[in-house]
């Protein structure tokens, strides 16, 4: 049918789709957890499982089909109102979805093989059967007409149905079918999985005389009677691959038609058009509708015949159904066309583009430099125009990689649900700013630290219901995730309304662990930051979730790696907020160029608050200067990096602020703003502190990018060391 490469490409596509479906299903389940009667969610969930099963079948991923089938049958009873989704059932289904996700991961796209942990699956299915109150074997028999029929073959008829109650499928293959590599028999075989084929008639009227017959063309037509509990869309899905190569009509079993009509009448009042109504009732599939609309356009030149009659004429739906739907359509209004026009692009293509744009930025800067050296006004002007465009391209290119943080946030519904249940706490998750956009590479690296923070907030922050009631708070704890843009940075907040951080306890623990000197005087904020030290944990009991002392330091290093910062705002008894500040992108930043002697350095512009001339001298590498009456800790960068400083000329101070910390960096010369394309320094420099990367200047020279967070930490350490009781030295700086 396909060559191996095509096949594995299709399979990869399916795996991708499957992951999306599993994720969708999870979201629906979590909605149902809150609103068990949300019909839309039930339908969505069913659809997701159904589509997954159908697609998996096309790739003969039998274990996945079988497993999903159980979920699907369970959901169909929920959809029909026979069963309600209880909390334990939802928990169980979530675990089943995890299993589906792990199965999708296990599929080998090259061989199409799917190794499964059968024991684990059986365990899940048994648990499911227990929950639904029916032993698995029976559920099997009742729901699984498809497998049952297939197994029994043609020996017996299905109980309670005969040809009259069967779907009628009328299939005319396109002559090109065989040439496109499809085997009609395989689709019929696959159809057999949905139910029992009661009757199959082959139509060969199209067959020309033997002389004229092209052995590569397909002249076949089929009329099939199928006994199945599958829906129309499900049956149509079987022929998904050959939609373009056949004419397909599916008529529901007569006995079921009345049910469909009833369904149409029962549909809630909507703005839907007739086609949508028919689709919603399951009588018409979307594909058929598209076809019908095309026919309508074709037939009616001046006079448009109504869609309903076109559909009936084409034999897609029975007339009765159209009448019922038409009645329903009375208050129909035009719905705005919301067709989403999105393109899926492989992430590495985008990365490549952004790399190229990075190169462009560097070479455009080089061109501008040359133009200035030449001194030709025309040249300078045109290079400036080029630079403006390059800047616009840079921004547009970086936007391509921006994705909304909502997807990442929504994952926490599940985490919060699982963890709070495990701990017996009632917690509600609020999400704000889900549409805030952030670079994809940042979002990917943010998931772990956020998970740590969320788990910590649930475990340590939010009290048990009794404690909360005793403290006069509502029994249900609140955890909120918030994201917003703030002056070129993105801010992500994880806050809870729990007990807040216990400053005294943290201090005690830090002294016990030897992290701080017992005599040290630390501000409250500094004390709070101690929880990010490696090996720090205040939880009295090591729980399953947190308290092992790993975690917060991981959060810190992950945020550092993203060139971000984190701060804590804790109000005792009222709650605690962790605020993460991140740069919008990792690839290109706005920088501020300075030099020390002949070497150039870049400081992220968003951290620079002001530049001053240095009037005084610093006695050592680190110390305090007076900034408008306030002591400003300063670091002499040339001395710190042991670089020769240019003796002549005045030196400058660059005041940087990071969160609540402010410091002065003493440099030789200031060169101003610069679009900085970040180039990693590589493995050899991974332990280098104070420098986070490099960039190439327009002149071709390399400038190093300063890691302000780590510089400030080093400065703090030295200052703590040298000045036990810091004294501002107002004499050091004039004015």
């Amino acid at each position: 049918m396909f060559n191996d490469e095509q096949w594995s490409q299709l399979l990869r596509g399916f795996i991708e789709e499957g992951r999306d479906l599993a994720k969708q299903a999870e979201e629906y389940l979590l909605v149902l957890d809150q609103e068990p009667d949300d019909e839309q969610a039930v339908h969505g969930l069913f659809r997701a499982m159904h589509t997954l099963k159908g697609s998996a079948g096309l790739f003969t991923l039998t274990p996945l089909v079988n497993f999903t089938h159980h979920l699907e049958s369970l959901l169909s009873t929920v959809r029909d109102g026979e069963r309600r989704l209880t909390a334990p059932l939802i928990s169980l289904m979530l675990r089943c979805l995890d299993e589906i996700a792990s199965m999708l991961d296990l599929i080998d796209p090259d061989s199409g093989e799917l190794p499964v942990d059968e024991a684990h699956q059986a365990q899940l299915l048994d648990a499911l059967a227990e929950q639904t109150g029916a032993p698995r074997a029976i559920a099997h028999e009742a729901d699984d007409a498809a497998e049952d029929c297939a197994r029994r073959g043609t020996l017996e008829r299905c109980v309670g149905c005969d040809a009259a109650g069967a779907w009628h499928i009328s299939l005319r293959f396109h002559p090109d079918l065989l040439r496109n590599g499809f085997d009609p028999a395989s689709f019929v075989r696959y159809l057999g999985r949905l139910g029992e084929i009661l009757h199959l008639e082959t139509l060969a009227e199209q067959m020309p005389d033997l002389v004229e017959m092209d052995p590569e063309s397909c002249y076949l037509g089929l009329e099939i009677a199928l006994c199945s509990s599958a829906s129309k869309a499900e049956i149509e899905d079987v022929f998904e691959f050959i939609r373009d190569f056949c004419t397909l009509r599916i008529l529901p079993p007569d006995s079921a038609l009345d049910d469909y009509l009833k369904l149409i009448q029962d549909l809630p009042e909507t703005d839907e058009r007739i086609g949508s109504i028919l689709i919603a009732s399951g009588l018409l599939t979307e594909h058929e509708l598209a076809e019908g609309l095309a026919l309508q356009a074709e037939v009616g030149d001046g006079l448009k015949s109504p869609l309903g009659s076109v559909l009936v004429e084409a034999g897609m739906v029975p007339p009765k159904a159209v009448n019922a739907a038409l009645a329903k359509q009375q208050s129909a209004r035009e719905r705005p066309n919301r067709e989403s026009s999105q393109i899926r692009v492989a992430a590495n293509k985008l990365d490549e583009l952004i790399n190229l744009v990075g190169e462009l930025v560097i070479s455009a800067a080089g061109a501008q430099l040359q133009a200035q050296l030449q001194g030709s006004a025309d040249c300078i002007e045109s290079s400036q125009t080029v630079n403006q465009h390059v800047e616009a391209i840079r921004e547009a290119a970086l936007k391509l990689r921006m994705i909304e943080i909502g997807d990442t946030f929504n994952r926490f519904h599940r985490v919060v649900r699982d963890v709070s249940q495990q701990l017996g706490k009632q917690i509600r998750l609020d999400i704000q700013g889900a549409d805030t956009e952030l670079d994809r590479s940042v979002i990917d690296k943010l998931a772990d630290p956020l998970t740590h923070l969320v788990r910590n907030a649930i475990d340590h922050g939010i009290e048990s219901a009794e404690q909360r009631l005793a403290a006069g708070k509502p029994a249900e704890g609140r955890l909120s995730l918030n994201a917003f843009h703030d002056s070129g940075m993105i801010v992500i907040e994880v806050s809870d309304d729990g007990r807040g951080l216990n400053t005294a306890r943290i201090r005690e623990k830090a002294i016990e662990r030897g992290l701080i000197d017992p005599q040290a005087t630390l501000s409250e904020a500094d004390t709070h930051m101690l929880i990010f030290a490696a090996g720090f944990s205040t939880a009295d009991a090591v729980s399953d979730l947190s308290g092992r002392g790993v975690g917060m330091d991981v959060v810190r290093s992950a945020i550092d790696a993203l060139r971000g910062s984190i701060e804590i705002e804790s109000r005792p008894g009222l709650g605690c907020t962790f605020r993460i500040r991140l740069p919008l992108t990792l690839a290109i930043i706005d920088g501020f160029l300075v030099s020390l002697g002949d070497e150039h350095f870049v400081i992220p512009l968003e951290l620079v608050t002001e530049c001053l001339e240095l009037d005084a001298r610093l006695d050592s590498r680190y110390g305090y200067l007076n900034l408008r009456g306030k002591p400003l800790p300063c670091i002499d960068l040339a001395a710190h990096f042991e670089l020769p400083s240019s003796a002549q000329g005045r030196r400058n101070i660059l005041v940087v602020s990071l969160g609540r910390h402010q410091a002065g960096l003493i440099v030789d010369r200031l060169h101003g703003e610069l679009q900085t394309v970040i180039k990693p320094l590589g493995l050899l420099f991974q332990h280098l502190q104070g420098i986070s990367g490099s960039t190439i200047l327009g002149s071709g020279q390399i400038a190093l990018i300063l890691d302000v967070a780590s510089l400030l930490r080093q400065l703090q350490q030295h200052i703590d060391h040298e000045f036990r009781s810091p004294q501002p030295r107002p004499d050091l700086m004039g004015s």
Binding site: E599, L643, K679, L681, G682, L683, L684, H687, L688
Partner: protein, 171 residues
């Protein structure tokens, strides 16, 4: 021609091509499969707080590539660039995660491409070569004397470099 291919052609069944170069007075060699290109010694940007043999970084057509001074790595003085000073760009995987890294090595002069027959390679003597024995993969003998074949992974050992740079930063 003789310099490039000093060994007769018919004896080359298992021989491996090496690039030979000079650092101070000694001759060294590297398997040529590691070598990507040889460039003239140019502007090197110093990276502070690193051991002295990590000379800095260069701009190699838009890529930032670290440069190592082999002489300093062997314990000699830092190279004073001269007319024949070159940077040999090699590419290798350093930490086993499949990511090939490009690294430049400063050498005093590049000599030739040698076909070295493994049978002509001897073990390093425990002393007398002037450099750490573990940097030496073998000694290749030919009519003009010995060429030291370097064990690049040892010379560029990340553990070594990490310890040295942490020491540098602490001190």
């Amino acid at each position: 021609m003789n310099a490039i291919n000093p060994v007769p052609g018919d004896a080359l069944e298992d021989s491996v091509q090496h690039l030979s170069f000079r650092v101070r007075q000694a001759r060294y060699a590297l398997p040529i499969e590691l070598v990507r290109e040889i460039i003239e010694y140019g502007q090197v940007t110093a990276v502070p707080m690193m051991p002295s043999f990590i000379h800095g970084v260069i701009n190699l057509r838009g890529n930032v590539v670290p440069v190592l001074d082999l002489a300093a790595r062997f314990g000699f003085e830092l190279t004073t660039p001269g007319k024949r000073t070159c940077i040999v760009i090699i590419e290798l995987e350093l930490d086993g995660n499949g990511q090939a890294q490009r690294i430049g090595l400063v050498v005093d002069a590049v000599d030739a491409v040698l076909d070295i027959d493994p049978r002509d390679v001897e073990q390093a003597p425990p002393f007398g070569t002037g450099i750490r024995t573990d940097f030496i993969a073998g000694m290749a003998r030919d009519e003009s004397g010995f060429t030291i074949i370097l064990d690049v992974r040892r010379v560029l050992s990340l553990d070594d470099i990490r310890q040295l740079s942490l020491m540098q930063q602490a001190g």
